[in-house]
Symmetry: D4
Subunit: 224 residues, 8 copies
């Protein structure tokens, strides 16, 4: 059944059809709209319900209506419901300090979808020893999310070191010829390392979703 | 050990480090160079050695030197060594007749890397019934490679129907505002369906490589 | 006769020449300018006079001078004069919640130009069942306006299901590689479904105008 | 029923679903493939079967297998079956001599789909008197296809003169800053005249298809 | 002699070398800097000294220091010194109401440089009769500045009607596919009418400068 | 009277309306078409009739039909009729050897339109002394056409030295980041020197046409 | 040793490895973060520690915690530690007043890295005599940083006059077709003068860093 | 003295002014033109005279006229005169086999300009161990030229390891989203490693010229 609000046609069957319930994209929705959708989805879901790209201001308003909601400020995520048990190992790797909000959006999304996360931050290619010091952690990961702005070189280097799939996230960090993340996007798409696939600029959520699908597919086989 | 030719620094350790040996990108290499690299890699590898983006003319020259080489004309792939046993199920889905060369590059690469492949061709979104008729096959796939040129809408529709990860390949099929595949590339990157990640325009090989890494990770857990 | 203000050269003959009087594009005009043009056009027109892209603030100022003006907040349209009788059937279809302002600009414009409108909202291709559930409504439409941001795939899918002409409106909804609506625009222009024509990004008005011209041409023949 | 060739999944139900049978896009298909598809479609269709973007060389090969095929050299169209009776009035207007191939692709497609066509050629805006001399013909048209390369200004001027819908086709005619038709495409999308919708660069077929759908909808009402 | 401020290396010889003294580009300069440069230039020039792209706020501050300064609000120009005698006839033609600020920047600059100006405003190509009604004025002009945003078609049409040189100014008026004036710029550069040359987007000053150079060259010959 | 060929709607009134007869753009026209148009225009014109962008091969064919035609190989222009008397002084300045074909297209067009031409070639800004050695010639010119590829800096430097109007022609000379002349085009449009206006990439003809209109306007005043 | 903060992985070994310690990029970092990093770096470095792209507001906050910090307002640089002795001669040349902030970022960075700097400002190519008056200073420089917005012609002209290496910095100064510095960037990359290399738009720091490396390499040889 | 050919204005003073004589850019020049320029430059130069971007065919023709000319086939360089003594140490580093022609253009140019060259080839970042194995060679270099196509990540990694200046050359190697070298160019311009400056796509010569200027400046100090 598809229950319709005027402004949203909620996809209640999604959890059955795709294995994951609908996640709310908070950008451009009002606190009232998010509150309403959270309530409706919470009523039918066993998984945590959450919304990405939410400011602290929106959270404050929503929290009044949904006291059980919690907020992850760096990730800008509002979540309702208990964090699920974590399986597997997804490494979230990022190049620089400025990429942190996207990295946290990815990491927290992974956790909310039931995955174990290893954070490996600020290991940009300009100081390679910082990355190489983390080689062990990289090898242990079953899926790797690799986040970088500017020239976006990190996924090429990381993918060359490991056998796990690498999901690359270009960020809009940079100025001038980075053209809002275009430089990093093109670099990741033309990576000389096989095994890299790419999501939209700043799309930490999308990378986490794909990583979760892969990580959980691996473990559904292992665990049962 | 890294043995050096003047023109190539062969990465013999790759198979150990990344789980897959070096694959030869045939474009811009001469038949002589490809022949030489095939010989050196064959001498040390248990997996099939293969080269992508090779014309029939190049194959004819290489075949004289390497009689055991075989040629996949639609995929434009030259391969040496026995096709490995196939595990799992990767669906290769393409939108139109003109996308076939890239679809076959992906499908044959998957097979050479030891994966079972289901081909679902010419199911573009302009005649949705053709795609919906294949819903069962799509649900059975563990990884899906989705190939489309022009407006590149197919991955969004496919990803909305399944729970497996979808790797999207834009092709340069189209004219005018397709700008050599840019329209399809941007469409796939901005897909409204979560679970889609993207590789470079016409990069059937790259999609297959990533799909194989995922499919084999799932089955290494299941099988042992 | 063309009466000239300093800032505008009003086209009074337009209604005779093109069948529709001048519609005011409110963006970048002051409330005073809009008020003046509304007054002049209202004095000579039998059709409703209206202005698009008007904020609530502008409406408040204009309403003081033109008490008969009414406001459509989601469409951001100010209108003066009685809604005309509606003929035919234009379906306004949109992909997501964020496309609503453009969808309403299109729908209200259609209504002000004398067309019956069927609204089919939030039926993006990531959950195809939502769209397919509306197949009957789509088949009944004589003209279809199809609005989508992000990857802009909806018009291709819709046009494949129907025989009516489809006018596609890309929206600037999205981020990163959507490049302000460019991704959706290119996708719609390169649609693999024949029967799709495209207007400018966010141009709900333009799509409605064209749809109205077509719908009314069909019914001028039927009715007389 | 969808009968599958290896290279094409023919959409036999299209005529029923969309009112027009499948039209073959000849670019990138071999003469053999086109011949085979023509034969299969001809066997089930009452309408003419035709293929666009076909060179004279391809026609010569196809003609040997399908002697009833005829060729429209400027339009580059191969057609089989009798030209249907023509209804209504579609004006095909083009700016310059170099736009002729696209204009003829549009005009012949319109005719093959059963529409009366008025050709108004070489009436670019640099010599406005040439266009204004055709005002009567423009006013009589029920749908107008407007084709221009370079700065693509013609649709804006034409749409300002008439009440019929205008379908604009940018062409790749031009050099330098025309960037393969991009200048004309952007100009048409940003037209200051309402009532203009746009198809892909050089897409004479697509414009004709849309124009035919509209023209025939008008006349299905009138005639019955 | 070139007297140097820390922030500006004033070109006092310019009037001798190029026939026109230095004109101040106000954007990004503080009121203090503009005041200082105006004072220094006024001390050595017989022509009016003026600054373009100045807000009313800047004028208010400058006026306190330079009481003889006057302000042209639509043109956003501050001028000091008596308006020179006007020679010849430059027509400033613009397409729409929103192009007015650029049109006035051009017109006032022309006047400050000693040229007679004929203003022909809001004559966009969507209502051709408005432009054709001004044919006489256009024929009398010795140089024409033609200003348009959106699809930028006006210069092509105007140049086709006259024998005078046309200087085209694309404006950033528009949205979506106008890409900040790019659509108009490309259209003007690819104009099918010979005799059109183009300046930067929104560069009313630059067009006026060139028009003045041409107009005054014509009249220096006539007058002596 | 507008006599129509199937492929061209010749503008016989152009000479009266615009002061210059129609000039044939040879690119994309066959030798037969050019021959026919030359014959028709020659029959009614007192000025030379000419066609630009014509290969030597086309000339050879046309020459058989029009023995009085002559060919300017570097300019790639075919002309019929006596070279008119030359007035005034247009300097054609170019940056490098590779810009010569466009420079000659401009220079020969100027001459065919009745202007005196001074050629100043290979004076690119990388060796400024070469340009400065020509300062006298530059000062004597009444209009300057300035042609450059690569970074397109020449017009900015030249315009800074003179008081005559400068018409800048970017050329497609260059590689990589010159993007087919885009770098030079953008540079010329954003020139810091006032008095520069720009035509399309490689449009030597267009620059010459504009220069001629200006030069002749100056001299029509002087001479009578 | 790499000591990790949550938000930054400070590269303490950088001074040993690369000869220069880590420089803080202030954009997007909070005053608290910058303060903390300054403190940690100051504790281990003999060179001045500094942060670029810092507003006066940030400096005020940081100054409270680090009283020895000083601020260069035009350069927007905060520095701690004594200015080192200066060697060699780096000329910082800029085209216009608006390029000053980038020029000062470059000049102050050079000084903080121990280089003698000669400032040559506001010598744009539109008034060549201003540049030529500085020929002696240019010849004395051992490395030249050349900064320009708009058409970015200055490095081509300067490099043609000297034998020292020229590092070009495009700035985002300009409007319209400068596209945020793209015009200047492309111009500098396609310079016809050999010896020019380019850094990112507005990257005064990067140019200074490279210039310093070169200048100090020259002098490490000379001095010892 | 500047002796002029019709097609070239040879800059004989260049060697004195800039320290290096004119180098011939062979692209687009005929064998005859190159022969003539070689002869004239050889007559006045003590350094080798050479031409880049010359095919073997051109060399064969030139060799008949200039028997002392020799050819470097991979570099596509024709040179006349004795190779000068080599000083210093420039490392030419390239990412992949396909970048070899540009790498050799750079290396041979460096040698012809009197620099010692260390070639480090096929060390792309996808197999980092290949690059790290060359760390010693990299540390010994006084200037590094770093050449890469596709994602262009190599300069960022290399610059992070060394203290020498790095000159980055993007190549047009790649397909799809590499857009003819644009991806690599943007990546190099936005490098997170300080000390990288960039030349045009495929401009091996330009990088070598700059590297030579730097290397020789270092050694002119050391040696005297």
């Amino acid at each position: 059944m598809n229950e319709e609000l005027f402004y949203a046609n909620i996809d209640y069957q999604r959890e059955k059809r795709r294995g994951v319930g609908e996640v709310i994209y908070g950008e451009g929705k009002t606190a009232e709209q998010i509150t309403e959708i959270i309530k409706r989805l919470s009523a039918i879901s066993d998984q945590p319900v959450f919304a990405t790209r939410c400011s602290l201001d929106k959270f404050t308003l929503i929290h009044e209506q949904v006291p059980s909601a919690s907020y992850y400020p760096q990730a800008r995520i509002i979540a309702v419901g208990q964090m699920p048990e974590a399986v597997g190992n997804i490494a979230v790797v990022c190049a620089g300090t400025s990429d942190l909000p996207i990295a946290e959006e990815a990491a927290v999304t992974c956790e909310l979808l039931g995955n174990m996360v290893t954070r490996i931050y600020d290991v940009g290619v300009s100081g390679l020893h910082r990355l190489l010091a983390k080689t062990d952690s990289l090898h242990k990961a079953e899926v790797i999310i690799c986040i970088a702005g500017m020239e976006g070189a990190l996924p090429s280097v990381v993918a060359g070191l490991v056998s796990a799939p690498v999901i690359a996230v270009p960020t809009s960090v940079g100025y001038g010829a980075s053209f809002g993340g275009l430089a990093a996007l093109l670099a990741m798409l033309t990576s000389c390392s096989a095994g890299v696939s790419v999501v939209n600029i700043d799309n930490g959520f999308g990378a986490a979703y794909t990583a979760s699908v892969i990580n959980r597919a691996i473990h559904s086989h292992r665990d049962f």
